[in-house]
Structures are given as structure tokens and as C-alpha cells.
């Protein structure tokens, strides 16, 4: 067992955990924040995506004990049913899901993707490494490739993200 303190959605949390506990299991099983989903549990599907210190990661592929002092944001920290995050509202408006299981990961990833583009981080499809990347459908598709949707809501997800990007611009 190992003691760990971190902040989750702005709230300080202290846990006593088996060292084997992934960040995802700490969030779901110990803090009962079940928005982050366990899909493949191997970093392949993206359903567990959360933000740590502002960067999106697969919470299934990291140990909770490795996050002492970190600031973790889950889907519950982005918005609430009464006060949706703009990306959540856009997913609803554009029907960016069917079963909804991958959606929390898709939304956390989407929010981070727009921040990554703003920060000038290039992607595989960025034509010019010397220029700032733009929000295009190709950029969104490439950057969201770590989030799988077996229902196939991809085209609506791209539309939702594009709308939020345009509103931010």
C-alpha cells in the first residue's frame, strides 16, 4: 500500500492504494468518478482519457502513485448536467455519440486537442513544421485517432469539435 495525494477536479484527495492501482481505477473505484471509462485497459481505445496538469493521457496506462501532487481533470470536472462544458454541449448538438461509452474520453481528448493546436504543437498531417497548425478536419481526425468509437460517430464528433473551435476563434 502507498499513500498518495493529488487534486482531482480542483479538490484535494488523499488515498491509500495498492501500488498496482492505475490512475483510472483510483478515479473510478476509489473516488467513484465513473465518467472516465475502462474500455481496453491497454491504451488503445482512449475511453479512459483524462487531463493531468492540462495534458491528456490514458489514465489506464499510468499508476496512481506516480501522480503525487498532480492536478487531474476528468469529465466530471469539465462540466455538469446543469452546466455543460461547450464541448459537451456541442457533442449533444451534433449527435457526436451513439452508445456514449467512449464519449467522456472523446470530450476530454477534444478539449485538449484544441489546446494543443493553440499551443502550436504539430501533428502527423501538419504540412509545414515551421508554421502554426490550423484547426482543419484533417488535423482533428489525426489528433483524435487515439479515441476509438465503435458506433462510428466520427463525422459528428469532427463537426462538434469544429464548432467549438470556431466559437473560440
Amino acid at each position: 500500500m502507498s499513500k498518495i495525494s493529488f487534486s482531482v477536479n480542483g479538490e484535494a484527495r488523499v488515498l491509500e492504494l495498492d501500488t498496482r492501482t492505475t490512475l483510472l481505477d483510483a478515479l473510478r473505484e476509489h473516488l467513484h468518478l465513473t465518467g472516465s471509462k475502462k474500455g481496453c485497459d491497454h491504451g488503445q481505445c482512449g475511453a479512459c482519457t483524462v487531463m493531468v496538469d492540462g495534458r491528456r493521457i490514458n489514465s489506464c496506462l499510468t499508476l496512481a502513485v506516480m501522480h503525487e501532487g498532480d492536478e487531474i481533470t476528468t469529465i466530471e470536472g469539465l462540466g455538469s448536467p446543469e452546466n455543460l462544458h461547450p464541448m459537451q454541449a456541442a457533442f449533444v448538438r451534433h449527435d457526436g455519440y451513439q452508445c456514449g461509452y467512449c464519449t467522456p474520453g472523446q470530450i476530454c481528448s477534444s478539449v485538449a486537442v484544441l489546446e494543443e493546436i493553440k499551443a502550436g504543437i504539430p501533428s502527423h498531417v501538419t504540412a509545414d513544421l515551421g508554421a502554426a497548425p490550423q484547426v482543419t478536419a484533417d488535423e482533428i481526425r489525426e489528433r483524435m485517432s487515439g479515441n476509438i468509437c465503435r458506433c462510428g460517430a466520427y463525422s459528428n464528433i469532427v463537426e462538434a469539435i469544429t464548432e467549438v473551435a470556431e466559437r473560440q476563434a
Partner: protein, 316 residues
Amino acid sequence: MKPFTYERAASPAEAAAAVARTPGAKFIAGGTNLLDLMKLQIEAPTHLIDVNGLALDKIEPTAEGGLRIGALVRNTDLAADARVRRDYALLSRALLAGASGQLRNKATTAGNLLQRTRCPYFYDTNQPCNKRQPGSGCSAIGGFSRQLAVVGHSEACIATNPSDMAVAMRALDAVVETVKADGTTRAIPIAEFHRLPGDTPQIETALEPGELITAVVLPPPIGGTQIYRKVRDRASYAFALVSVAAVVQRDGRGRVALGGVAHKPWRVEAAEAELPRGARPAMAAILADARPTHENAFKVTLAERTLHAVLAEARG
């Protein structure tokens, strides 16, 4: 996962000494490959030494005019670094062709160099695999080998190295800096860092037990047109069937390293003299020793055609 104890490293030398003296101990940095393998009990360390707190996360110029990349620099940060994008575009391109945004945010420079093969038989614990269980045999030979090695392999193992980053580093003549358990340091040329499988495929690198990577050094920029072309079964987030990392100069000379074809990034310096004559003679020389399986002979043709496309793009 099997139970393990956990500690945070205080310094690189102490971390190296701790792993060397503790049977079953491993370093953990990004953890994206190690934890995946631990969940499958392919890796079962009894003790983890978390090196994330070590100050090895800077990219700094060297006195020679190159760059020293700290072992803990995340793949995202390395790919996005303005100096890397300008002077070592090949490396940015290779990094961005690999994994997903989430994984690149976690994965480190040193960890990328040390990632294990994605051979399906290495992952299937019900099957013999000399890399996972030395002496048990190789299920891939005669098995599903479409993704596996065409050159440099052995009777014991036909696995490939999955890294894109390492292929670019091989073309750029990077040097891996380490600290050993006794506190001494050394510099290992990337060409000598990864090993061919031979009869010990479980030994993948030149690292000694406990030896910790502290940085990767890039020599001064060599200019040229730098292209990383990766061919895979889908457009994003997949391992390479074949990848070509090329630096092509105006006179047609250059360097080429291949990914997806061998147990290590594959580069044959002597073959590069053929580059000005075109992709066919160059690839014939680079893959002169190729011995593909019944399922992956297409990689030899694919490598030549990919190089052809790269050279055409370089000519503009």
C-alpha cells in the same frame, strides 16, 4: 499485475545502483509500454523505481552545435521543439507518425528507445516465444508473420522493433548517454544500441543491468531534405509495415534508415552510395541480405517503392 514495491529515484546514479542491486527491479518513466506488459504479466517487476522526478527533461544545445535531449523529454515536447522542427525535421516527423496524442504526452525519449516488440506471439502468453521465455521456441516462424522482420533476424526470433523515433535517430547518428550502477557514464552510438536477435532475442540493447539512459545527443544539423514516410494498415495510430527515414542532399546523396523490417532500425551505410542512382539499386543494397517469410515478402517491394516515393518528394 503481480505485486511490486515502489520508490521514487533521488538521482540518476542512485536509481541505476538501486536497480542493479535489487533483483527484479525496473525503472518506470512514462510507463505506457511497461504497464501494458505488466497487465499481461509479460513483464513482472518486483520493484519499480520511478525516475520521473529526475531533472532529465530538458533539451539543450551542445558545445558541438547539436542538441542534448534529456531522457525524460516527452515525445510530444520533442516533436514540438522549435529547434528540432527546424534542424531535425526527420525526428519530429517520425515522432508524430507514432502512437496517439495521449501516448506521446506520456512516452519519454528513453522509454521510446526501450519499447518492446509488438510481435503477436510475444504478446500471446499461451505461445512459445524466445524473447519472452528464452529457449521456448519461436511461434512466429511459420506462423502469422506478415508484420515481422525480413532482414537481420535469426532462427530464434523474427520480431521487429516498433519505434519510429529510433529510425530517425539512426539516420541522424544519435548517441545514447547513460549512467551505470557504479556511477560511471558512457556514450553509445545508436547503431550499437539496439541488437540483432541472434540466439539471445531477450537481450535487446547494449545496456547493462541497472544502466540508465540519461540523454540522447544529436550531432550538429546535416541539412538536406528530411522525410519520414510510414506505411501502415490504417492512416493513423498503427505500427509501421515499412517506414523510410531519409535525409537527401541536393546532389542526390543522403542517408536512409528503415523501420518495420528488422529487430533494430535498419541502416546500411555502404549502400547509401547507391542513392543517387535511385531507389531500386539503393534498396537492393540495403536489403541485400533480406530473407522474408512466406507472408511478408511484400515488405521488400514496399520498401523499394516507399524509398522511390521519398526520393521523388525530395527532388520536389
